[in-house]
Amino acid sequence: MPEQRGQWKSRLGFILAASGSAIGLGNIVFFGANAYTFGAGAFYLPYLVALVFVGIPVLIAELGLGAWSQKAFPLAMREVGGPKGEFIGWWGLLNSAFITAYYITILAWVCGMFVGAFGKLWTPSTNVEAFGIPEMGNPVGYFFDMISSWWVLALVVIVWLLNILIVRRGIASIEPVTKVFVPLMWVFMIILIIRGVTLPNGEDGVYLLFTPNFTVMNDLNVWGGAVSQIFFSLTLGFGVMTAYASYLPKSSDQTSNSLVVACLNCGFEYVAGIAIFSILFSFAIVPQASTLAMMFFVVPQGIEALPFGVMAFGLLFFFLLLIAGLSSSISLVEAINTALVDKFGWARRRVLATTAIIGSAGSLAFALPIIIDRNIASNGTLGLTLLDLVDHWAFSHGLIIVGLVECLMIGWLLPVSKIREMLNRNSRLHLPVAFEWLIKFIIPLGLAAILTHSIFQKLTDGMYGSDFTLDWGASLPWIAFAVWLLGTTGVAAWLTTRGARRGNGRLA
C-alpha cells in the first residue's frame, strides 16, 4: 500500500535541510582552493555572476518543479516531458547514486581522521605498514595508513547505518537532525574563523582571499570554473532539491526559498574561505586544487602547527566535515528513496533496505582498491583511480548533462512560463520574464559550452585517465566510461519502462 507523503513541519526546517544538503565537504575546503587557483578575489566576480544567472534560476526551477508536481525527480520530470523526461530523471538520480557511493567512502575516511585526531594524527610520523614506508610525516602518513587498512570497511558500514538511521522516517526524521547539524556547522565554522584570524598575521590570509588578480578575467577556464562551482555547490542536477521541495505545499514561496538556500550555501563558502585562508597564510601552506589534499593534508597541517589546542581544533574540524558531509549524503539518499517510493509505492522499510544494501556495496567497492592494491599513488595503480574516474564522469559530466536537459525540458515543454506564474502567485519576490530566457536559452547554452569544451579537451588530450592509467589495464579509462554510460542509461531505461508496464507511470 502506498505510503502517505509527509510534509515539512516548518519553513525553517526545510531551509535548514535544503541548505544542509547544499553545504558539504566541497564548500568547506574546495571553494577556497578554487578561489586561490582562479585569481583569489577576481574569482568572486564570475562566481557571483554564476550564482545570480545560473545557480539561483536553476534552483528556483528545481524547487518549483518539486512543489508543482509534488513528486520526486523522475516522476516530476515525467510530468514535464513524458517517458523521456522520466528517463532523464532516473539517469540523473543514478549519477547521483554513483556520487553517493563514493561520497560515503570519503565520509568514512573523515571518520577515520576524526578518530586519529584524538592523538595519532598529531604524532610526528607514522610507519605506513601497507606501503612499507617507515617514518612518513603526518597527517599524510596517517591518512594513507588509515585508508589502506581493513577497518575502513567497518567505517563505511557505520556511515551508511548513520545515513539510514537519519532518513528512516523520511523528512520526519531528517528535519530534526538538520535543525541541529546546520546551526552547529555555522557555530563550528565561526570558531574556526576566530581561531584563524587571531593567528599571527592570520588577517593577511583574508586579504589574500579577497584581493583580486584581474589578469585571469579573460581566461575562459575561470568562468567555466565559477559556473561549475556554483552548479555543483548548490546540488543542482542531483534531483535532491526537487525531492525536498515535493514535501512542500504547492502554495509555498519557492523564490524566497531558493534565494535563502543559495545565499546561505555561498555565504558558508565565504566564511569557510576566510577560516581556511587565514590558517594557510599564517603557516605559509600553499593550497592545492584538490578536495582530498585540502581536507586531509593541507588544513590538518595548519591545525597541527597551532600553538595550542591542536587536538581540540582537529576534532572540531573533522566533526564539522562529518556533519556537513552527513547533511549532504542524507539528502542524496533521500532523493533516491523518495523516487523509489513514488514510483513503485514500496514500503519505506523495503526502500531503505534496498538503498542500504546496494549503496553499501558501492561504497565498499570504492574503499577496497586501495586496501587490496597497496601502492601509494593513484597514478599507475588501482588505488584511488576508480574513485577518480567515476567522479569525473558522474559528477563532472553527468550532472551538467542533467542540468542542460532539465532546463531545456522545463523551459520548452512545461513551459517555464507556467512555473513562473505559479511561483509569482505565491511569492512576494516576483520573477521577471528574464527568468524564462535564462532557463530556455542562456543557461543551456552555457552548460552546452562547458560540455563542448570538455569533449574538445578529450579529443585533443586523449581520454580522461589515459595519463595515469594502470600498467596492467590501459583500457580502464574506457571501461569506466562505458560502465558509467551504459550502466546509467540501461538502468534508467529499465526503471522508466518498468513502471509503465505495471501501470504505475500513468500521470496527469
Binding site: G41, L48, T211, S256, V286, S290, D388
Partner: protein, 152 residues
C-alpha cells in the same frame, strides 16, 4: 586530474628536496616591498653561488616566477618581495638544474588593498543580504500552511 584527487598522491610521494639544505628568511613574515635576507645553508654550512628564485601564488593560474639572485659566500641573497601573498622560494645549486631546497613563505600586505575590501564587502552584502532578505520574507509566516484539499 579532477577536483578530489589532484595532488593528493603527489603530497604523499613528495619528499624534502634535500634532507639537509634549507632556505631561511630573516623575517618569518616578510613585508611586501621591504628587502629581506634569504639564506641557503647545508646543515648549517652556507651554500654560495646558489640561484634563488620566487614563485608568487604557486599552484594558481596567476602564478608569476621571478629570479631573486645568487647567494654570496655567506649563503645570503637579498630579496624584495614584489607582491604579497604566498610565495615559494627555490634554490638551485651552481652548475646544476635541480632544486636543492624549497620553502613556502607568507609575504604580508602593507595594508588591506582597497580592491580587496570592495570585493569582500560586495560579496558579503550580496550573499548575506540575499539570505537575510529571503529569510525576512519567509519568517513572516513560520508555519507552513496546510495543503489545500484537492479540488473535485
Amino acid at each position: 586530474m579532477n577536483r578530489w584527487i589532484a595532488a593528493a598522491t603527489l603530497a604523499l610521494v613528495a619528499s624534502p628536496l634535500s634532507a639537509e639544505v634549507a632556505i631561511t628568511v630573516a623575517d618569518t613574515y616578510p613585508l611586501f616591498g621591504e628587502p629581506v635576507t634569504v639564506t641557503v645553508a647545508d646543515d648549517g654550512v652556507p651554500v654560495g653561488s646558489a640561484t634563488v628564485s620566487a614563485e608568487y601564488r604557486p599552484n594558481s593560474r596567476t602564478m608569476v616566477a621571478e629570479a631573486i639572485g645568487t647567494t654570496d659566500a655567506s649563503g645570503n641573497v637579498e630579496w624584495t618581495p614584489s607582491d604579497a601573498g604566498l610565495v615559494r622560494l627555490t634554490a638551485i645549486a651552481a652548475g646544476s638544474e635541480e632544486a636543492i631546497a624549497s620553502k613556502a613563505v607568507s609575504v604580508r600586505y602593507v595594508s588591506f588593498p582597497i580592491e580587496g575590501i570592495l570585493t569582500m564587502l560586495i560579496a558579503g552584502i550580496i550573499l548575506f543580504g540575499g539570505a537575510g532578505l529571503g529569510m525576512s520574507i519567509l519568517m513572516r509566516e513560520e508555519k507552513i500552511p496546510e495543503e489545500e484539499p484537492p479540488s473535485t
